[in-house]
Symmetry: C2
Subunit: 260 residues, 2 copies
C-alpha cells in the first residue's frame, strides 16, 4: 500500500465546494472531492478515500489545496499524475503528487494554511467591475484605503478567541485560533489582496475578516476597533461575510517530517 500527497488547484465557480455531497433522492452534487476521487478510482482501478486539508465552500478557489489517498496500485508516480490529470475536467488539476507517510493526515498534520482574498474596488467612483478575472475577484463599490486595512490586519495577528469572526458560535468547541500573518497589499489603484495565514480557521472566518477589513478600508471602522471587535466575541461586532468568489486557498504547510 502506498499513500500519496497531492497538491490540487481548482476554480471553484462551478463546484459545490470541496466536500462530497449526495442529497437524498437526488443526484450527487458536483464537488472537487467527488470529481477528483472518481478520476483517481478510475486510474488505480480500486475504491480510494480522498481526504482534503480544507473543506472549501462553494465558489471558493484553491491554488494549493492538499489531499491524500492510499492505494495498492503500483502505477509509477509520474504516470499516475499524468493519468489522473488526463481524467479531470478543465477546472481542476493536480499540480503535484508525492509519496507520503502511511499515516499522513492532510487535516491533522497541517501546521498553517494561507488564504488570499482578492478585491477590486471603487465601483461608486466609476471604476468598472473586473471583466476577464471576474470569477476570481470580489467587486466592492467603495474606494478602499489599503493602508488603513493593512494596519487593521496587523491587529488581527496573534492567538485570540475569534468568536466574532465566525457564523455561529455553537458554544462548545473552542473558537481560539492563532493568526500568524495578515497582510493587505494594493496591487494597483483599484485592486488589493488580503493574505491570512493561521493554524486553523473557523467557518467563514477569512470571509468575515475580509468583510471587516473592507469596513476599515471604507472608513466605517478604524484599525483601533479591531481589539474591541475581538474582545466582544459577538458576530455582530465584525463586518459582513464577503462572497466566496474572491477567496482562494493558497497553501497548506506541513512539518518537514510529514511533508516527506
Amino acid at each position: 500500500m502506498q499513500r500519496y500527497r497531492l497538491t490540487v488547484a481548482y476554480e471553484g465557480t462551478d463546484f459545490h465546494g470541496w466536500q462530497k455531497q449526495h442529497p437524498k433522492g437526488a443526484a450527487p452534487l458536483r464537488t472537487v472531492q467527488g470529481v477528483l476521487e472518481e478520476a483517481i478510482c478510475t486510474v488505480v482501478r480500486e475504491a480510494v478515500a480522498l481526504v482534503g486539508a480544507s473543506r472549501t465552500d462553494a465558489g471558493v478557489h484553491a491554488e494549493g489545496q492538499v489531499a491524500a489517498f492510499t492505494t495498492s496500485s503500483g502505477i509509477a508516480r509520474a504516470r499516475l499524475l499524468r493519468a489522473i490529470n488526463g481524467r479531470l475536467p478543465a477546472d481542476v488539476q493536480v499540480s503535484s503528487l508525492a509519496p507520503a507517510a502511511a499515516d499522513f493526515d492532510p487535516i491533522a498534520d497541517a501546521v498553517v494554511k494561507t488564504y488570499r482574498y482578492r478585491i477590486a474596488h471603487g465601483g461608486a467612483a466609476g471604476v468598472l467591475p473586473p471583466l476577464f478575472d471576474r470569477r476570481l475577484v470580489t467587486f466592492s463599490p467603495y474606494t478602499l484605503d489599503a493602508g488603513a486595512m493593512a494596519r487593521a490586519a496587523a491587529a488581527l495577528v496573534g492567538t485570540h478567541d475569534f468568536a466574532s469572526f465566525t457564523r455561529v458560535s455553537h458554544g462548545r468547541e473552542s473558537t481560539v485560533r492563532s493568526i500568524t500573518a495578515c497582510t493587505v497589499k494594493a496591487t494597483s489603484r483599484t485592486r488589493l489582496r488580503i493574505d491570512v495565514t493561521g493554524d486553523g480557521f473557523l467557518y467563514n472566518m477569512v470571509r468575515i475578516i475580509a468583510g471587516t477589513l473592507v469596513e476599515v478600508g471604507r472608513g466605517r471602522l478604524g484599525p483601533e476597533d479591531i481589539p474591541r471587535i475581538i474582545a466582544q466575541r459577538d458576530r455582530d461586532a465584525a463586518g459582513p461575510t464577503m462572497p466566496p468568489q474572491g477567496l482562494c486557498l493558497m497553501k497548506v504547510r506541513y512539518t518537514p517530517r510529514r511533508a516527506k
Copy 2:
C-alpha cells in the same frame, strides 16, 4: 444628433463573435454587437446602429474594440456611460465613451489595430494547461523557443501580399497588408504572447500568423522560412489556424483628427 465613440471590452467565450447574426427561423445568436446595441437602444429610447472597428470571431476577446453610434438623446455623457454599463451582462463593458465627429467611421478611419495572441506551452513536457485563465490562453503541447519565434515575427513586418495567411484567397480583393510591428515576448518559462500591429487584417490572419510562429517555436520551421512562405501566396505554406480563445483585440488607433 450626437455621434459617440466607445471603447468596448469583452470576454468572447460566450459570444458568437462581434457581428449580429439572426439565422432564419431561429432566435438571434448572442453577439457583442447585438447585446450592446440593445443596451444602448434601451438607454437612449430610440433605434441606433452600432458599428464596430473589427468583426471579431466567435470566442475572440477584446480589451480595446472601438464602436460608434449616433443618437438624438441628450443624456449627459457620464450618465449615458453608466446607464449603458448598468444594462450590460458581466462579460462585456464599455470602458470609455466620448463625443466623435458626425462622420466618424470606426472601420474606415482606423489607422492600425493591435491584436495579442496568448499561448501557454510545454504540455508534452508535463506542463499543466492554464487553469484560472484557461478561457483567455491557448495551450500548446510543444515547448516553444520564443527567441526563434521573435526572429520569425520580425520577418513578417512590412507591406506584403499575405495570401498565405488567410483562409481562402478569393482572388478578387487585394491581400496586400502592412504589418508595422510583430513581437513575441516570453512572460514566463511556459507563457508567451504575440503582439501584431497592422493597417488591416485578412480573415483568420492573426491566428494563422500565430500558428506559423508556433511551427517556428517547435522547430518545424525556421525564421528564414518566413520570406518563402509569404512569397508562395499559398495557404498551405503557412502554419495551422490557432483557436480563437487565445486571441484578443487590444487597441484600434485613429488619426488625432478623428479621435477628437
